[in-house]
């Protein structure tokens, strides 16, 4: 049981890792970035590329992927998403299209086959946590997602960009009336969310095969996490990642993986049915 809780924690931390970037973008700008999963995939390919051709150590790929996908996100916002604010369906379609383009570009350059990344030796063994052996890599994923979460909290609440971002997410017009360049803030927010997707991709590449279509499943999972947690609530995203991860692994321990996934979806539907705004909705004034 303790073992399955630990594994739940690690599944939850992967969910959190991938959902964080989506939440930053959806929660502050109301844009559902359908290319999010493909940005995760791109982060994984940054790892493949940097390891194979540049011989960069695995953990150094994290900042590399963050900067690469972040810059790409900044470009995507400037060139496409900027023109579509307040048109929800159009942003859905446009970002979905971007995702497909990214997938095809990767397929054409790296080929459709599976890629492997090598994980450093010190992350391959087991670490004993409370008397139970746990794969070190799972522990690393957990630590990285906590570190990224703390980073996002720090950016939102301790930096100038964070303050402008929170102001814009609550009232863009009034923010502009007080001298905040809303377009600039949105571009940086999109870059931040995309960068987080890239960093998540690096960690994912260590335990999952890297292939061009790997992003699709992540965008679904992370979207469920964000919606169950309550849009624009960081605490909600954390709680729902932990909850869904825990339920998933307990069900997988009791029955099997497929049933666990089904229970997870049922749970998400139930939460949305009874708390349409998610577990932790930002309260109205």
């Amino acid at each position: 049981m303790l073992g399955s809780l630990l594994s739940g924690l690690s599944i939850g931390s992967v969910l959190l890792l991938v959902a964080l970037g989506l939440m930053v973008i959806y929660g502050t700008m109301g844009v559902i970035n359908m290319a999010h999963g493909d940005l995760v995939m791109l982060g994984a390919y940054v790892t493949v590329f940097s390891q194979r051709l540049l011989h960069v150590p695995f953990l150094l790929c994290l900042p590399l992927a963050f900067v690469f996908t972040g810059s790409l996100g900044w470009l995507i916002e400037r060139l496409i998403v900027r023109r579509l604010y307040s048109r929800l369906l159009d942003t859905l379609l446009a970002t979905w299209g971007i995702g497909i383009i990214l997938q095809q570009v990767i397929r054409l350059t790296f080929g459709p086959e599976l890629q492997n990344v090598s994980v450093p030796v010190f992350l391959t063994g087991e670490t004993r946590v409370g008397g139970i052996g746990m794969p070190s890599y799972r522990l690393a994923v957990f630590l990285v997602s906590v570190a990224l979460l703390l980073g996002v909290v720090a950016i939102l609440h301790r930096t100038d960009l964070g303050m402008r971002l929170r102001a814009v997410s609550q009232n863009p017009q009034i923010s502009a009336c007080h001298g905040i360049d809303v377009n600039q803030v949105r571009a940086w927010t999109f870059a931040l969310g995309a960068g987080l997707a890239g960093a998540a991709g690096v960690m994912v590449s260590g335990f999952n095969a890297v292939r061009p279509t790997m992003g699709s499943s992540y965008v679904v999972d992370s979207f469920i996490v964000v919606v169950v947690g309550g849009v624009s609530s960081l605490a909600g995203t954390v709680a729902s990642a932990a909850l869904l991860g825990g339920v998933n692994s307990v069900m997988a321990w009791l029955t099997n993986d497929v049933l666990a996934k089904a229970v997870l979806l049922l749970l998400a539907i139930a939460v949305i049915r009874f708390f349409p705004k998610g577990l932790f909705s930002a309260q109205a004034r």
Partner: protein
């Protein structure tokens, strides 16, 4: 100081303002009056660049603002206190005031002494969440936020609407003080004729998106009010 020429402004496809021209001199106090739905709020929004589409010229101290984005108009020296206050309810009082500093020309983030002197309640409650304040306190906060930018002129949209009477008096006194003691140029949208006559030097009467009449406050006769404001 602020000069509008032939402003035509649109909300979606509706043509709201028609050929509005007006001049606000430095240090003056101008009130925009008229019935509800006549375009008063739209006039202020158009000055801030919040209308969907507009034609015409908006000049502040000789600088053309009509094609500038909203945040640069704020930085040019226009402070805006919107209708319904629109403070950021999840921010603390302090964060709301500091937010106004983004429009400061030097970009510094500091709580201006003036603001804290004018509004002792805010000074004592800097760490309260703004959403918990009463309407009147939120209105004071909205004024404080606009003042934090050191603006050269202030646009106020019905600052005493829906506010408890004991605070209405305070807010009116503050607005008069800002104009008379600190020389701030004020453009006020107001329905309350008593306050308008007490505070303003000039008036602009709006009717169906047109300027129906304008002049010094002495020219704001009971006849005009009867003609354009009686319900």
């Amino acid at each position: 100081m602020l000069e509008l020429q032939n402003i035509n402004s649109f909300y979606g496809n509706s043509h709201i303002l028609h050929d509005v021209s007006l001049r606000v001199d430095p240090g003056s106090f101008t009130a925009v009056v008229g019935r509800n739905g006549m375009g008063k709020t739209m006039l202020l929004k158009t000055i801030m660049g919040l209308s969907d589409r507009m034609r015409g010229s908006i000049a502040l101290g000789g600088k053309q603002l009509a094609h500038q984005p909203t945040h640069l108009r704020a930085k040019a020296g226009i402070g805006y206190v919107p209708q319904g206050r629109e403070i950021i309810s999840q921010f603390t009082v302090k964060e709301n005031i500091l937010m106004g500093c983004y429009a400061r020309k030097d970009g510094k983030k500091q709580l201006p002494d003036l603001v804290l002197d004018l509004f002792p309640y805010l000074k004592d409650n800097l760490h309260r969440r703004a959403g918990l304040l009463s309407g009147g306190q939120q209105q004071q906060l909205a004024i404080a936020r606009a003042l934090a930018a050191n603006p050269t002129m202030l646009l106020l949209d019905e600052p005493t609407e829906g506010i408890q009477p004991n605070i209405v008096e305070q807010i009116e006194q503050t607005i008069i003080r800002l104009n008379q003691e600190l020389g701030l140029t004020i453009l006020l949208v107001e329905q309350n004729i008593l306050f308008t006559r007490r505070a303003a030097q000039h008036f602009v009467m709006m009717n169906n998106g047109f300027v129906a009449a304008s002049g010094t406050i002495a020219q704001l006769s009971d006849d005009l009010i009867h003609q354009y404001m009686a319900v």
